[in-house]
């Protein structure tokens, strides 16, 4: 059927749905729904990691293979340093920029290396906003409780307390750098309500929050003359005789030469894993989201946590084909957008947590109440025109310019027609285990942002990622900078590879996979 014909049911049922209030699921119903439909509970997608710090723990097969993968660096590799620095930041997204800036401000010499350009990241795409408890009726404690609920009570309490308490000072820092957060009439920061939150707490820059923050942070990194190594992909870390981290080896993707950086501390801010397309899911993630930091840290002995849980964002575009996997911001649901099945019915409270909403969409589709596209995809409607109906014409244009433009490029006016969505692989809930200074169990190896784990429990709350990046980017940068002043540069070896390779051999893991992946293999080979 023509897409417009199928959309009629959404238009036809809008007024009736507006009068409806859908209760949130009870904790028991929630658990049941998630266990039955959430991709985290598909047993056959998982297997135990055979060896290493998390030997025996289960994760998705795609990640397990990479964690067990071999290094491209040989034991006898020439480790003469091309650069020497106090703090080496790997990754140019939000956490990387924040870490570099804070380390630099504390007087450390900083190098920031990234395999794409500075700023090419998931951070730049964050549309929903940044949770910080600034409103009078809100508090860091309430932020803590909401996040804990969203994370199924599995969040690391220390990490979480640090994040929510430092939130307001992060907002102040960003404002001082010139970030233009949306304001109320009285000049105070405007807050929106996010899914899974009991209070309005999202700071936004229309639907360009991540872009605005990243424009400013990138500019600041350049203004501070922080040394950059762009198009340099980290392929291995170095360690001294005690196993402490002492630097990293990169591959320059332009000239294919290796670059060795000696550093007193290394901060991995390498982001997530969306481009592994686990369980065949499309992804909202950027080109380089291949979990490189997890592999590097794991080979050096860093323990991972909660790497069996991933976030599937409820609203990835399914139609048109060109936008598959791209995100339709949660802000649309925050402002009242309904999810509607093929029968014109709502089926979930749209402001429930992401895992609950995603599971319910998968349920609708598996039980035959989805809308299918001829390329074999399936989805449900997100009633975007409802926002203009509810809050007046022009609401979408004003609050969601990015979304309007993205669909407009393909001739779709989302203020007139609903969009078809299905969950898309969005976020790695777990990652490398860190302490409150963002340090791993490997001395002088820090991990900040999505690559780290523990903070978000088993489901990250909307708007907590941008704050995570800023808080733990800052803490890792400050800690590394202070430490650098009082320590000598350690020796550069790849001694840890010997042990790792011996373990691999013992466990019969000669799968031939070399990790990290660096970039996904999308290039079509000769057929």
């Amino acid at each position: 059927m023509d897409v417009h014909a199928l959309q009629q049911i959404v238009h036809g049922t809008r007024d009736a749905r507006r009068k409806q209030t859908l209760p949130k699921f009870s904790p028991a119903d929630r658990d049941q729904l998630i266990h039955k439909y959430h991709p985290d509970y598909r047993e056959r997608a998982y297997r135990p990691i055979r060896f290493g710090p998390n030997g025996g723990d289960k994760t998705v097969v795609e990640l397990a293979s990479l964690l067990e993968g071999d290094s491209s660096i040989a034991d006898e590799f020439d480790l003469t340093a091309d650069y020497t620095t106090d703090v080496l930041v790997v990754g140019g997204g939000g956490a990387g920029c924040a870490a570099a800036l804070h380390a630099h401000t504390s007087g450390a010499k900083v190098i920031l290396a990234t395999k794409l350009r500075l700023g090419d990241s998931n951070s730049v795409m964050a549309q929903g906003g940044m949770q910080i408890s600034v409103a009078p009726g809100d508090s860091p404690v309430t932020h803590f409780v909401d996040t804990l609920k969203g994370g199924h009570m599995q969040n690391d309490h220390q990490l979480l307390k640090v994040m929510v308490e430092e939130g307001p000072s992060i907002a102040k820092w960003l404002l001082s750098l010139g970030v233009l957060f949306d304001r109320d009439g009285d000049g105070n920061l405007h807050v929106k309500k996010g899914g899974g939150s009991s209070k309005p707490r999202l700071l936004t820059c229309s639907d360009y929050t991540g872009l605005e923050i990243m424009r400013v942070l990138k500019d600041e990194v350049l203004n501070q003359n922080i040394q950059l190594l762009e198009f340099c992909a980290a392929v291995e870390l170095t360690s001294d005789e005690k196993g402490n981290c002492t630097g990293a080896i990169f591959k320059d993707l332009d000239n294919h030469r290796h670059v060795v950086v000696a550093a007193k501390s290394v901060i991995l801010a390498t982001g997530g894993i969306g481009r592994l397309h686990i369980q065949g899911f499309p992804t909202s993630n950027h080109y380089g989201a291949t979990g490189d930091g997890l592999c590097l840290a794991y080979r050096l002995g860093a323990k991972l946590t909660q790497i069996d849980t991933f976030q599937y964002h409820p609203s990835g575009a399914v139609y048109p084909e060109q936008l598959i996997g791209a995100l339709v911001t949660e802000g649309i649901r925050s402002e009242g957008g309904h999810l509607v099945n093929a029968k014109g019915e709502r089926f979930v409270n749209e402001l429930d947590t992401r895992d609950v909403v995603s599971s319910s969409i998968i349920r609708e589709c598996e039980e035959g109440r989805g809308i299918r596209t001829m390329s074999g995809r399936v989805g449900v409607w997100l009633d975007t025109p409802l926002l203009d109906a509810e809050h007046g014409p022009g609401t979408l244009e004003k609050h969601f310019p990015a979304m309007m433009l993205q669909f407009d490029r393909f001739g779709i006016d989302i203020s007139k027609d609903p969009v078809l969505i299905y969950p898309t692989l969005h976020y790695q809930n777990g990652g490398v285990k860190i302490d409150t200074n963002s340090e791993t169990n490997v001395h002088n190896l820090f991990v900040a942002g999505e690559a780290s784990g523990g903070l978000h429990g088993r489901n990250r709350l909307m708007g907590n990622s941008l704050l995570d990046l800023m808080v733990f980017g800052k803490r890792s940068g400050l800690t590394a900078a202070v430490r650098a002043a009082a320590m000598p540069q350690g020796k550069l070896t790849v001694g840890h590879l010997k042990g790792f390779r011996a373990e691999a051999k013992k466990h019969g893991s000669s799968n031939g996979i070399v990790s990290p992946m660096i970039l996904p293999a999308y290039t079509r080979k000769e057929s």
Binding site: L116, S139, K172, G178, L180, R183, L222, L327, A402, Y522
Partner: protein, 236 residues
């Protein structure tokens, strides 16, 4: 499954896999119609390192030029957001060596005057409008440059909120202005110097410093798992 069959969106282009001929950097390739330019690069066997970033239309890494069949007009786009069609000619934009001024945004004394020290070329706009035509985000770039020069920093910051810093406005400028960089400076100055300080934020920071939430924290952090879960369930 009869019910499902009525819920299928027609997409003949997907079914038929119609192939089209496009020219990428001067060479012709057959690619499926309707895929994005970035996907066409992959499909035609090219390794993409430079020229792809967020793949979501936000990072500006994939700035590209294209021309449709028989049309002399060369247009700009973000390659991850543009579908290919038959007869299209495409080339990716190379990195352009625009000059970025460096400044300490927080210690600027007179940001509106400083604009002319940092970007002395900004007032030299000759009104050709090429920057506006080059913007894949549909920003009225030329107007923005003039507003910056006349000190209307607020309008510039609003107009350029959509700017993905792809830089396509820069190579076309006959006055060697980098409008995106000018606008970034202006927007940051607007935020850091000409925007009200949110009093509520300072109040909250002080509350945290003064330990206003310490008792609540002590209660929460002492709770057993069960107590905490019960407490969380009461917060709606």
């Amino acid at each position: 499954m009869a019910q499902e069959d009525t819920n299928i969106i027609d997409q003949p282009e997907v079914i038929r896999h119609k192939m089209v001929t496009v020219e990428i950097a001067g060479k012709k390739y057959e690619v499926p119609e309707g895929i994005t330019i970035i996907k066409a690069l992959w499909y035609s066997g090219q390794e993409v390192v430079r020229g792809a970033g967020c793949l979501g239309g936000f990072c500006g890494a994939c700035a590209a030029y294209y021309r449709t069949k028989d049309d002399p007009k060369v247009r700009t786009c973000l390659a991850c957001q543009m579908a290919v069609q038959d007869g299209m000619s495409i080339t990716m934009m190379p990195p352009f060596p625009a000059r970025k001024a460096t400044y300490d945004i927080q210690t600027l004394k007179d940001p509106k005057q400083d604009l002319f020290n940092l970007y002395p070329e900004a007032p030299l706009c000759r009104n050709c409008n090429a920057c506006t035509e080059a913007c894949p985000q549909k920003i009225d770039v030329r107007e923005g440059v003039w507003k910056a020069v006349f000190g209307d920093f607020k309008s510039v910051s609003e107009m350029f909120m959509d700017c993905v810093m792809c830089g396509m406005c820069t190579p076309v400028c006959i006055a060697d202005i980098a409008p995106n960089l000018v606008a970034l400076y202006v927007s940051r100055a607007q935020g850091a110097h000409f925007t009200e300080k949110p009093l509520g934020l300072d109040a909250r920071i002080k509350e945290i410093q003064d330990g206003r939430f310490d008792d609540e924290w002590a209660t929460i952090l002492k709770m057993s798992e069960k107590e905490l879960a019960d407490h969380c369930a009461t917060v709606k």
